[in-house]
């Protein structure tokens, strides 16, 4: 009889939770407390019923059965961020001309993740920026308070074919893993399709992954001259000990329709060109490249764990076998402090040094903050992030950049960012 009463109580509470709102959880606790006081339930039974009911409601929400909200609301999550930046550029545009510039800039991104069905999700994001710049979502304060534009930042479908296979199609968040932004500016969202396979050889200890992507760079009227890219990245993530983790991946890139092409959008014109018919210049080399990325991280590293809760060393390397020289690029770095800066007094310092040769990689893809995203450059970058409040950070970023060869055009770029995530 008592068991029956417990089942009935749980059912009533579940109905209350599902039918009304989770905000009534406090009232449910009061109800359970009353039942304990009246001797209907023991404290243990009340704890059991209360906890299990809350867990049941969570599961029902995950299944889309929470009926007090429209299904599309239950199935959709919104997220975004807002960044206000002060930026100072100190540079020489030639051996004698100084091209200093100060700017205030804004970035806003808003994204939605919506569950289509139990195995498919749709992702849509809008952001500030420019339709003609693939590597920036900034808007400069300018033009007498003219309104700023919003663009489609990403829109893609993610289909979980099985727990270990995910297929993506559309304009997507870059599925290729890298530790720095030497090859891919973090604002680039590739367009095409990708498949990610994962295998937990030993769950939460050793995971294998294989990401393959086919991306379209340029579409021309003649299909044979479309510029496309295939990327295949196998790798692993290994928790060597509870506090030490290693992630390593290699990537094979194959480009089609780039060598001999006159120019890709957003090129910085630093890759080697040769004169072609009609006076136009073409890419001299192919950019089929081999790349590798690795990160070794430590929680509570020995000797410094009292001051530094997290430390990681990382690096990326790329090699383009086509040119005889100017074919390599590398980035190495270290970061320490809090693994994620997301609350008051959290902090992290990051340093990274990079050098990329002229033809190591396509000049329309690297980080735009290093001499506008050119190749044939080297740079030192220092970032200090400090948590101001929950999801609010203050970041200081300094780049010291220069070209590898020819007339030196040193640039010192300072950025002070106020970041808010929601």
């Amino acid at each position: 009889m008592k068991k029956l009463l417990m089942v009935f109580t749980a059912a009533v509470i579940a109905a209350l939770c599902i039918g009304v709102s989770l905000s009534y959880a406090g009232e449910i606790d009061i109800l359970l407390q009353k039942l304990v006081e009246k001797g209907v339930l023991t404290p243990g039974e009340a704890q059991q019923i209360g906890t299990e009911t809350k867990e049941q409601v969570k599961a029902e929400i995950a299944e889309g059965k929470f009926s007090s909200l429209p299904t599309w609301v239950q199935n959709t999550k919104l997220k975004g961020d807002l960044r206000v930046r002060y930026q100072s550029e100190r540079k020489k545009t030639s051996s004698s001309v100084q091209g200093d510039k100060e700017r205030a800039r804004l970035r806003m991104r808003l994204g939605a993740e919506s569950k289509v069905n139990n195995s498919t999700k749709a992702y849509i994001g809008i952001a500030t920026g420019s339709s003609t710049d693939n590597r920036s979502t900034n808007q400069t304060f300018d033009d007498s308070f003219e309104k700023k534009s919003l663009w489609l930042d990403y829109a893609y479908i993610e289909y979980m074919a099985s727990p270990w296979a995910t297929v993506m199609a559309g304009r997507m968040k870059n599925p290729i893993w890298q530790t720095g932004d030497m090859l891919w500016d973090t604002d680039i969202n590739p367009e095409g399709g990708a498949i990610t396979l994962t295998k937990a050889v030993k769950p939460e200890v050793f995971d294998l992954f294989l990401t393959s992507g086919f991306f379209i760079l340029e579409d021309s009227e003649d299909a044979t001259s479309d510029a496309t890219m295939v990327a295949i990245q196998p790798g692993f993530s290994w928790k060597i000990s509870p506090k030490t983790k290693l992630k390593l991946a290699g990537t094979v890139y194959e480009f089609n329709g780039v060598q001999g092409d006159s120019a890709l959008s957003d090129t910085k014109s630093t890759n080697t060109r040769v004169a072609g018919a009609g006076g136009t210049s073409h890419y001299k080399y192919d950019y089929d490249s081999l790349a590798a990325s690795s990160e070794l991280s430590f929680l509570e590293p020995v000797l410094i764990n009292k001051y530094v809760p997290y430390l990681a060393v990382f690096g990326d390397i790329v090699n383009n076998p086509d040119p005889n020289s100017g074919e390599q690029g590398w980035l190495v770095g270290v970061k320490f402090g809090k693994e994620k800066v997301s609350d008051w007094k959290d902090w992290q310092f990051k340093y990274q040094r990079r050098r990329i040769d002229t033809d190591a990689w396509l000049d329309s893809l690297p980080d735009s903050d290093v001499l506008s995203g050119a190749t044939g450059v080297h740079s030192d970058e220092y970032i200090l992030s400090f948590g101001l409040n929950k999801n609010a950070t203050l970041d200081f970023d300094l780049y010291n950049s220069n070209v590898n060869n020819g007339t030196k055009t040193p640039e010192r770029l300072y950025q002070v960012d106020l970041n808010f995530k929601f």
């Binding site: 606790d29 407390q33 304990v36 023991t42 404290p43 243990g44 039974e45 009340a46 704890q47 059991q48 209360g50 906890t51 299990e52 809350k54 867990e55 049941q56 969570k58 599961a59 995950a62 299944e63 139990n118 195995s119 979980m160 727990p163 937990a200 769950p203 939460e204 509570e300 764990n305 009292k306 809760p309």
Partner: protein
Amino acid sequence: MKSLNKVLIAGMLMLGLAIPCYAEKIVISGSTTVLPIAQKAAEVFMNSNQHADISVRGGGSGVGIAALIDGTCHIADSSRPIKDTELDKAVANGKRPKANVVAMDGICVIVNPSNSVSALTKKQVKDIYTGKISSWKQVGGSGGKIVVVSRDTASGTFEAFGELALAKEKVRPDALMQASNQAIATTVAGTPGAIGYIGLGYLSEHVKAVDIDGIKASKATVLSGKYPIGRPLFMYTNGAPKGLVKEFLDFILSEEGQQLVEQQGFVGLQ
């Protein structure tokens, strides 16, 4: 006819021999905190249920829940509620994790009975264990150095205390690390300036439990959720438990099962 009887008798004998050989298997994986409960319960349950073959392994709550989602275990032990991301994965994989609360984890902060301090805030406990507070005078005591006693890092109690009381911050390096609840109780009982923590079930008159945030450590306050260093312990199943899995969970929630829970130093639900 005689030979038919012989065949029937032989058949029945073979069937009789075969039945005890048939064993139904349950695989349990997950939290190292819940592991001693699962191990002890499985041992006692298998003694009285010859057909049950229960395999218990640890790995952590995340590993257990991942195994439940992958379908490689029947019961996922967990010292925390399932995460939303894990639920999403489970639903996408056609699984419906069902929470079964089997016990409560309540950790008492203890001092030597001669210590005048009888109440601390949760923040003071954290500051003592992380090294920000090192004298009893700083928390209203009569002075003297605080001797910090902790469980060794491999124990589930250490892990639970780190999560519930220390917000995952590191225990000060000069803490005396002990291999058992009993060893902590003995050290604190014999050291006037010591502070330690033990499972509620190990509390005795040789040590003094201090109130945390004004709440006394007791079975009632842990069960009501009022005591700040307490949490429910789960055994997740895929949907409502059935068959042998249900029998096993019913056993853990029975009077006998809950006695085993308390013998392991946890708070029983009964």
